[in-house]
């Protein structure tokens, strides 16, 4: 009995264990994907029609009256490339810099590191989109379970219908609607005051006025994100719960006369929520990327807004940096989802010998 619980004894040699280790393999795969994305973005920027480097050289020549060579050298220092080197050589230099955590300097604000720019904007997006994700996930699970329990009654119909409608409307449309209806028409809040990430009068720090001001500025984007994503969670949870309710072990639990509460939490809720945690982990990755328009609409200075700014300023190094950070987030949250699922659900636990 004891032996069957501990499973068969693993007799593989250590190197085989290492190669076949699922976690390690997933991690290496993720690293490979990140490398592929870095390569893709690098060559995209270099080889696109309307070569950004040339555009920037022309821009410098026109605006600052530099000679071609000066402009070219300046561009080289900011794009971190040796003008005489081939694209492939540049690529390896760039890779080397990235390994040291150096994403180069911003083109338009000379002397500013892209990484420090990103660090300045990133926390706001993480805070704003992250809390919205958490709210819509929890609320969506609750409503989805409710709909599944009362399936095919009016409760379910209303919840499912609203969820479909709410999730169908793009998030930026919600942003505009909120601005027009509650901000401009009903004047529930002053749209101008709620721009930015916090009130400049309250310096950042761990104190109540600052936290309140940060919340006040984030509340509209958060509402928008919740409206834009909650429907998906409701419908996913409803589907998942409905199928769990049909499982034999739930019927048996009922037959055993277990309390409804216990069936709901321990039998149905836990199992139905499983696939949603995977979805949640995947969504965490998209937290950074899915916010450009909403941040623009609310003038919320987060990563999306920074990306848009760098695009409109043709700040290619910043663009490259933000795109990279966003993608890394997705890759590693996908990895997390993979690992999380096998940890949460023993049925799909992948072992080396399969």
């Amino acid at each position: 009995m004891i032996q069957s619980l501990s499973g068969p004894v693993d007799t593989r040699p250590w190197w085989q264990k290492l190669v076949q280790n699922y976690t390690l393999r997933t991690f290496v795969q993720s690293l490979f994907t990140v490398w592929a994305v870095i390569t893709f973005v690098f060559f995209l920027i270099r080889l696109m029609p309307g070569n950004p480097v040339e555009i920037y050289v022309n821009y410098l020549m026109n605006t600052e009256n530099l000679t071609y060579q000066d402009a070219y050298n300046r561009a080289a220092s900011q794009f971190k490339f040796d003008p005489d080197a081939s694209v492939v050589q540049q690529y390896f230099v760039y890779l080397g810099q990235l390994l040291r955590g150096d994403m180069g300097e911003s083109i338009t604000s000379t002397g500013t590191k892209v990484s420090s720019q990103i660090l300045r904007y990133l926390p706001w997006t993480v805070f704003c989109v992250g809390s919205a994700l958490l709210i819509s996930f929890l609320l969506g699970m609750l409503l989805g379970m409710l709909a599944a329990y009362f399936r095919n009654t009016w409760v379910d119909n209303v919840i499912s219908f609203l969820a479909s409608i709410v999730s169908a409307v793009p998030d930026y449309i919600w942003a505009i609607l909120i601005l027009i209806i509650f901000g401009v028409q009903l004047k529930w809040f002053n749209v101008g005051d709620m721009r930015g990430t916090y009130d400049p009068a309250t310096p950042p720090g761990f104190n109540l006025p600052f936290i309140l001001s940060a919340l006040q500025h984030a509340i509209l984007p958060i509402t928008t994100y919740v409206l834009g994503s909650i429907g998906r969670w409701v419908l996913a949870m409803r589907g998942s719960t409905t199928s769990t309710l049909g499982e034999d072990y739930v019927n048996i639990a009922r037959a055993r006369g277990l309390k409804q509460n216990r069936i709901m939490t321990a039998y149905v809720g836990r199992n139905a929520a499983l696939p949603l945690f995977t979805l949640l982990a995947i969504s965490i990755g998209f937290v950074l990327g899915g916010s450009v328009i909403v941040e623009e609409a609310f003038v919320y200075k987060g990563l999306g807004s920074f990306l848009f700014w760098s695009i409109s300023q043709r700040d290619y190094t910043s663009m490259q940096g933000v795109l990279l950070i966003i993608t890394i987030a997705v890759v590693f949250s996908n990895m997390l989802a993979d690992l999380l699922y096998s940890r949460l659900d023993p049925r799909v636990r992948v072992t080396g010998d399969k």
Partner: protein
């Protein structure tokens, strides 16, 4: 397909979506043909609220001489507008009429214009703005009652009302909303077609070919899927000059296929195990025959549903791009209306709500209809999802 219509009829929510989509189809064909695009700048109706219409004010003795706008040709006409140039005389084209006009704007211009009309400086006064009209004609506002005692409303309903008001250039918003959907919808459908076609072809090829081809295609899909679509799209849109809608549709379509491709690959892999496909393979029927005669019909529902979903994604992407100003804005679409709302600040103007709400609702309702319809399709194609089960 034979069972589809009765099922749709039972599924009231799906029916709403379907009717809505038919309405949009009419919108971009018949309605658009009926309602032309108003591109004429009209100073007297700048930012007019919804329901505004022209009102003609005259002296009592002229009451019967001007019953329609055409009667005013060659006369001196006063125009009272909410905003615009101050008092001056000019030759102008009011609704295509050659007249001499005086213009006043609201505020002090209201009593001035009424006095000018009473004194005979102008023959008739056109009032457009709803707000100004309320000052002049509303019996409860006492301010100008005196002036009105020797003036009369010649024609309270001159021409049709502006259902949705006018934009910052005085153009009829209603015509813009009617006309603003065609290119968006065509682009979205085109992008949906492109991404669905790529997903179908690559998914089927990967599943049927197997081996190294399969691995490479899946790797490409997995690679594209991790780069967040929208940020990449903005970056690409910044580098490529998106000067026509076909290019935009292609770009959106090229980035949207991977998720569907993986799903289709999985479907084909399972279909391949079915007896009838194995029989077809054993009979050595051509690949094309197997794909289009054996496999496609059996996953038609799945493909159609995902085509509809792809349209919503494409719609989201392109309007997002337009809203940010990264896509062509020479066609006056719903997206461009939103873009102008943002870039010209009308978003924050209390009077221009209709200007933005109209396109916003048009977009939102289109997306809702698509999603409701796709859910109905899903239920129709998948019996397990049907309500009664």
């Amino acid at each position: 397909m034979r069972t589809f219509w009765p099922l749709l009829w039972q599924n009231k929510v799906g029916l709403i979506g379907f009717i809505g989509l038919v309405f949009y189809l009419l919108l971009i064909t018949v309605f658009q043909w009926m309602v032309g695009f108003d591109n004429e700048v009209k100073l007297d109706q700048i930012n007019s609220p919804p329901g505004s219409r022209l009102v003609l004010l005259t002296r009592p003795e002229d009451k019967d001489s001007y019953t329609k706008l055409q009667d005013l040709v060659g006369h001196k006409v006063g125009i009272l507008e909410k905003s615009g140039a101050p008092t001056f005389l000019e030759k102008s084209n009011v609704e295509g009429l050659e007249v001499e006009t005086y213009r006043w704007r609201s505020g002090r211009g209201v009593p001035e214009s009424l006095e000018a009309l009473a004194a005979g400086e102008v023959d008739a006064l056109i009032i457009f703005s709803k707000l100004v009209r309320r000052y002049v004609l509303d019996p409860s506002s006492r301010d100008y009652k005196v002036s009105l005692s020797h003036l009369t409303v010649s024609n309270p309903k001159l021409g049709p009302a502006l259902l949705l008001g006018a934009d910052t250039q005085g153009r009829d918003m209603f015509t813009h909303v009617i006309n603003g959907g065609r290119i968006l919808i065509i682009t979205a459908i085109m992008a949906g077609l492109i991404s669905t076609a790529i997903a179908f072809i690559l998914g089927t090829v990967a599943a049927l070919a197997g081996g190294i081809v399969d691995r490479i295609l899946v790797a490409i899909a997995n690679f594209i899927i991790v780069i967040p679509r929208f940020p990449l799209l903005i970056v690409l849109a910044a580098m490529i000059t998106l000067n026509n809608w076909l290019l935009l549709a292609t770009l959106i379509g090229l980035l949207a296929w991977p998720a569907l491709m993986r799903a289709i690959r999985a479907q084909v892999l399972s279909l391949r195990e079915r007896d009838y496909v194995e029989a077809a393979m054993a009979l050595d029927l051509s690949r094309m025959h197997i794909i289009f005669r054996e496999i496609l019909p059996n996953m038609m529902g799945f493909v159609v549903i995902n085509f509809v979903v792809a349209i919503t994604t494409a719609m989201y992407d392109q309007i997002g791009l337009i809203f940010l100003g990264m896509a062509p804005i020479n066609d006056y679409t719903w997206g461009v209306m939103l873009y102008f709302g943002r870039s010209r600040g009308t978003l924050f103007n209390i009077d221009s709500a209709a200007m933005l709400l109209a396109p916003v609702l048009a977009i939102a309702f289109f997306q809702v209809c698509l999603v409701l319809f796709s859910r109905a399709l899903e239920e129709a194609f998948d019996p397990r999802l049907r309500g009664a089960a």
